[in-house]
Amino acid sequence: MNIIVCLKQVPDTETQIKIAPDGKSIVEDDIKWIMNPYDEFGVEEALRIKEKFGGEVTVVGLGPKRVTEAIRTALAMGADKGILITDDALEGSDSLATAKALTAAIKDLDYDIIFTGQRGIDDDLGLVGASVAEFLGIPHIALGIKVEIADDQSSVKVHRPVEGQTLVIESPLPVLITAQKGLNEPRYASLPGIMKAKKKPLEEKSLADLGVDASEFGEAARKLKIIELTPPPERKAGKIIEGETPQEKAAELAKLLHEEAKVL
């Protein structure tokens, strides 16, 4: 089983996001970058499949040089090799262009399954996985929370949550699956794993290396334009229930839930 995992580097969920003066991007100076958590589920699942069936796990990342760190983290978790697509012309690309570049890097590799995260926690668009599958002409199963490979390794069953139910979808291989929370509990990159990762192959590829036309990428080629970023509205201060006794406080709370919040 050869598996490819696409990964993105995103700001840590604990980072305070600040909007840049241009009003269309964020200030990147003090951001701590991490592997997109949904991609981490993909890496973990790929490693588990590899441990069971053998084969190789390749991680493919795209973006500036700092993305190397996310790729190395995946290598430290146990992936075998990494590819970083990096090119100044990629700066400002939208999801479609990203998917095109990933497709170009993946198409000649030998793969049975491709994992991507169901979405990036930064842009929250969820387009890349489906687009890569489309460009490669392979089936796409979204939001996998369980992946079962058939014993003869020719097909896969993917569980996907729908409104409290589970939909089980079967597909021949190769297939692209997007990983959803619940798929697994990703392992840590162990310290020996981190030491070994230093010696694992990590290739860098430019758009020219991939044989694609640079004019299809970057800010100018965007089909989706960002007009403006605005911060979420400030949260209103909470309300502290006053009262002398628990009984009084409970009565006051019930009253407010009924009259103000209108939930009772």
């Binding site: 760190e69 990159a189 162990s190 310290l191 030491m195 230093k198």
Partner: protein, 384 residues
């Protein structure tokens, strides 16, 4: 000048940070109460590679340099100190004697077991009559042909309760002592005449134990001398090299704990309201926060710098003592302020602050007291 931490070490910091947040911190108060680290957590620490940080790769460790090791220690010290203590002897005093001065056979036999954490190693130097004055050990090793008979009592030995193997410092020539009369042995648990004594009751570091080790006509072959026959009488040098190395790591432990306390204080002082505003708006509290942060900053720079010097192959005897002295004294000042900022809550067991306050107090005492560090620094400054 380059102050960048290499990528692989940053990844390690991240791994430890996660491990601390997900696995250790949630049970840190439980461990404190029960005075015991659950075995499954020790197993996870083994799987993560925490027992073999500085042991070279050829002997099954990670082969981290000084900077790598102190960064791991710094992160790991942001929770209950007993976790760091559990891996501390394998990475430091329990294994380094064998690594520095052991024979190739000893290294091949012991180090991989210690690096994996399958075995726990401890270091037995201190005795009732020999604390700071380490050369005054009374535990004797007497030669009988190709054997030595060991008699004596060690105390305050960290991880002695769980140790499978001990580095034991003995006197083989009472006239010569530090100058050719001290000998270091490696002795396995179960050797006849080698027993564990009482587990001592301490102020802090609950979850990690120190105990006595008793030698009652314990008979060991010459092969158990660290470095073999040629190292008879050379054990004082071995012991000093081992302790030298530990000074930077002790600094890192003190630093990590201090940083954690500062972070806790910043959060608490923003939330705790007295006199109608968060206490972080009161100038006296601000002054404490500012002093804590400034000292922590200074400590970190000197620690990283000394680690870097050592990784360049430089001798850092003076610097390492300065780091141990400053970082551990600084940490106690920080802990004192942290208790103060938390007010009455800082004195209560519900909060980790009082635990840090007790645990940090140790760092000024073991692996060379503050006074002994000053002695070393001054000796280096004034030597001809």
């Amino acid at each position: 000048m380059d102050f960048q931490i290499p990528e692989n070490l940053r990844m390690m910091q991240e791994t430890i940070r996660r491990f601390v947040t997900r696995e250790l911190e949630p049970i840190s108060q439980q461990v404190e109460q029960e005075d015991h680290i659950p075995e499954d957590i020790v197993q996870k620490m083994r799987e993560l590679g925490l027992f073999g940080l500085s042991i070279p790769e050829e002997y099954g460790g990670l082969g981290l340099g000084t900077l790598g090791e102190i960064l791991v220690y710094e992160e790991l010290s942001k929770t209950n100190a007993c976790f760091r203590s559990r891996i501390g002897t394998n990475n430091g005093i329990g294994s380094m004697g064998i690594l520095f001065d052991g024979t190739e056979d000893q290294k091949r036999y012991y180090l991989p077991k210690i690096a994996s954490g399958e075995w726990t190693a401890c270091f037995a130097l201190s005795e009732p009559e020999a604390g700071s004055d380490a050369a005054n050990v009374q535990t004797t090793a007497e030669r009988h042909g190709s054997y030595f008979i060991i008699n004596g009592l060690k105390h305050f030995i960290t991880n002695a309760d769980v140790a499978d193997v001990a580095t034991v410092i003995t006197v083989t020539d009472k006239q010569k002592r530090a100058r050719g009369g001290i000998t270091a042995f490696v002795i396995e648990k179960g050797t006849p005449g080698f027993y564990r004594g009482t587990i001592e009751r301490k102020m802090g570091l609950r979850g990690s134990h120190t105990a006595e080790l008793i030698f009652d006509n314990c008979r060991v072959p010459v092969d158990n001398i660290i470095g073999g026959e040629p190292m008879i009488g050379q054990g004082f040098k071995t012991a000093m090299r081992v302790l030298d190395k530990g000074r930077l790591t002790m600094g890192a432990c003190a630093l990590g704990a201090s940083q954690k306390l500062l972070d806790l204080c910043i959060d608490y002082s923003k939330e705790r309201v007295q006199f109608g505003k968060p206490i972080c708006k009161h100038q006296s509290v601000q002054n404490m926060l500012a002093d804590m942060a400034t000292e922590i900053y200074a400590a970190r720079q000197m620690l990283y710098h000394a680690a870097w010097l050592r990784d360049q192959g430089k001798k850092v005897i003076k610097e390492a003592s300065m780091v141990k002295l400053f970082c551990t004294e600084m940490a106690c000042r920080v802990a004192d302020k942290a208790v103060q900022i938390f007010g009455g809550m800082g004195y209560m067991k519900e909060m980790p602050v009082e635990r840090f306050y007790r645990d940090l107090r140790l760092y000024r005492i073991f692996e060379g007291t503050s006074e002994i560090q000053r002695l070393v620094i001054a000796r280096e400054l004034t030597k001809e």
